[in-house]
Symmetry: C2
Subunit: 456 residues, 2 copies
């Protein structure tokens, strides 16, 4: 697909050390954290906006597909170049450009890793609240592309609530700046929120201006244990309705707790459903809120509630939660982490549906996730080489999406449509709605060169 002449031109733009067509590299860059794969023809690592612009101008001229990529921790195949072409990898644009604590803003390049940003911010008493479980490797650019959700979504929402402005290279190579350095603005259409979550199909982000939050004065994490899906669902819903204002509500079912505890070398109490609640804010508010939360959870059916006030003990719980995916992914050869969301009053029903569908299709499913956002990650452990089992997995997935839509939910809460969910988008939206999305794609990328074949 790509001529030697084009490769030479790419080398002229970024330097030959930042271009690769080696079979090993192409193989590595044909994967992300999903089970999809697609191989690029060439990988480039730009280091400046100008280089990205020149790459896009070349690609536009030659009509070569370009697919942006961050750390490759995407779970929906977003960075995989379905039509081949150029994999434009942003991991060498890693500068933190401009921290302004007095306006709670920082500007970063897309390759900055989330945890690294938070380490940088910590001495200033600030943090970037959108920490996906993969925050030790995920890049901000990737998070923006997918509208990543954090472990604290109940309070802080998703990436799009925290991106104030973007420098974007358009498919034709033009560089635009969207958004504002103010906390709110309504000057023209909201191009920021159109770009956030566009999965690399509308533009390539070269600078990202983020809003920050002051680190809360005090934090506690309550662990509550539930025997049934119904009670766990109530424990999620009632905690939110109670007004105790949790920042995050994270759930793990028994199989996840077992795997994660073992993986992380931790001892965690076992229960059918373990739910972690983060309560943060002014020092004086913590204990009364935890007390009220405990009461609410016991009324919802919690068999026990433990509270961790110390940093070390809280870190232990989050370590277990963050270990969920890596731990499960080691149980069997293939691990498919799903991502579906429902309204918060349907979390219990979703947990029940997942268990009954897993049984029906004889598939191993372990569920965890951001229950307070109604967003769960049913994670299938299986073996890609077993055709018969993969058929059952496919049937389970199709039934699950239907169940989720019946529960007024979405086929993806935060991982994106990408490759893996494209066939199911029509369960959630009708043709007229998808056609509006397509018309926007055509308007911004008329030659369909940016991440072609994705979403719509």
């Amino acid at each position: 697909l790509i001529s030697d002449a084009v490769v030479r031109k790419l080398e002229d733009i970024v330097g030959s050390e930042n271009v690769s067509t080696s079979p090993t590299d192409l193989h590595v860059y044909s994967y992300d954290a999903s089970i999809a794969h697609a191989t690029p023809d060439v990988i480039v690592w730009p280091q400046t906006t100008e280089q990205v612009s020149q790459i896009m101008k070349l690609a536009y001229e030659e009509e070569i597909p370009v697919t942006p990529r961050g750390a490759g921790s995407c779970l929906s195949g977003g960075p995989l170049p379905l039509k081949g072409g150029i994999s434009i990898t942003m991991t060498k644009m890693t500068r933190i450009l401009d921290l302004n604590p007095n306006r709670l803003q920082v500007s970063v390049e897309p390759g900055v890793v989330v945890d690294r940003l938070n380490e940088y911010l910590q001495p200033h008493g600030l943090f970037y609240p959108i920490n996906p479980a993969s925050s030790s490797i995920a890049t901000i650019g990737g998070c923006v592309g997918e509208d990543a959700g954090p472990l604290r979504g109940v309070k802080y929402g998703t990436t799009k609530n925290w991106v104030l402005g973007l420098e974007v290279v358009l498919p034709n190579g033009k560089v635009i700046h969207v958004g504002s350095k103010t906390f709110k603005h309504v000057a023209g259409y909201d191009l920021v929120r159109l770009m956030v979550g566009s999965e690399g199909t509308l533009g390539i982000f070269t600078k990202i201006n983020l809003r920050l939050a002051p680190i809360p004065e005090a934090v506690a994490v309550a662990s509550a244990f539930f025997d049934s899906a119904d009670a766990a669902g109530k424990g999620v819903r009632d905690a939110i309705l109670s007004g105790v204002d949790p920042s995050g509500i994270e759930l793990m079912e028994r199989a996840v707790v077992e795997a994660a505890s073992k993986h992380a070398g931790l001892k965690l109490p076992q229960a059918e459903f373990l739910i972690l609640y983060e309560i943060a804010g002014s020092k004086e508010s913590i204990e009364p809120r935890v007390r009220k939360l405990t009461k609410v959870l016991k009324e919802a059916g919690a068999t026990a509630v433990d509270v961790a006030y110390e940093a070390e003990e809280r870190a232990r719980l989050w370590k277990a939660r963050k270990a969920a995916f890596p731990a499960l992914s080691r149980l069997r050869p293939t691990c498919i982490m799903e991502d579906v969301a429902v309204p918060i009053d349907n979390v219990g029903k979703l947990l029940e549906a997942l268990r009954s569908l897993a049984k029906k299709h004889d598939v191993m499913v372990a569920t965890f996730g951001h229950a307070g956002d109604g967003d769960l990650h049913p994670t299938i452990t299986t073996d890609e080489r077993d055709e018969e089992e993969m058929k059952r997995v496919a049937a389970f997935r199709a039934d699950m999406y239907k169940a989720v839509v019946d529960l007024e939910g979405t086929i993806t809460g935060e991982h994106g449509v990408g490759i893996t969910k494209k066939p199911y988008l029509k369960l959630q939206f009708r043709e007229d709605e998808i056609e509006v999305m397509r018309s926007i794609k055509r308007a911004i990328d008329p030659k369909n060169i940016l991440n072609p074949g994705k979403i719509i």
Copy 2:
């Protein structure tokens, strides 16, 4: 522009009692709360989605401009039909359709007035946090069209943070549903946030699904007094940085306090700058947070800080704040309420710039607004009939927008571009950026019949 045959067809669609071409009605509907005006050829009041769809199909066929309108409290000329045609007025679609307290969601028709919704929600312990100062008349549909901001923006953001889903009638009359009933979703492009704030140029909203919040357990309002713009600016910035988590920070300068107190029949202490801080949350958290806030404000230079804990006293303060615009609008024949925003560390500089520019151009300007969002409403009282004075007003406005952009701000924080700011959009965005907005408009409204001539 509109033939009798078209008027007959409109009457067939909505009933003759819901169509008007009377000169008096047309005159009334040629105004909003800005000083712009533009007269429609016919007004229709639809009552169902189906009627809106049929009206749009007719308009699409005949290429007649259609401009949606709510209560007409818009401050940028949004609902004014620049090209004539049909004024589609949503004030007869006033049903609250579906309250679901267990998932913190309510579905409403666009004509529901904000205060009415909150009265309806109050017995359920819930509220819709986005209360613009005009909440006693403003409709939810208008708020969605303009992405209205509340008196509590520091904590709750703007309308777009609270709209989960929309039923939208497209320019061609097709009815689509965008968004999700979940708190988060990334299935396809974010059409909800593209529609919110699109000022009636992309679609007409016929149903709006809103997220709600539990009413906080306790609230206090601190009033702080400052002698200088610089100190007031610090009082805004430091309150936010302190982490005491105010829900709203509202500022009024002396002339505003004087006018509003008189208008509302209230006695308020006089100061160069009065800033109100709302602190809400768990009962136990209030006093310590107020104590910390008071300390921070005194360090920032507040000459005094009073705190209102009782509902009646708090209501008195908000009544004064809400009276700001009506009070100022009675001072002189013409009142132009502006709307500009800057990063929170530039609020003091913006206050200074406004005072010095008012002096330079010899214009009466009284400033109030959502200082915690960096969003201020410099309000010009003048006389439209005085040509010479209006020239000075125009010069002041042009200088103000330049100053705001120099302070890294936006020409509109929440009122929209509409008619009144369209000439200034290019101060903030370059042609390439505006062209992306235009391409989206063309994609969704190829015949340019929805609110033509606005924004871009």
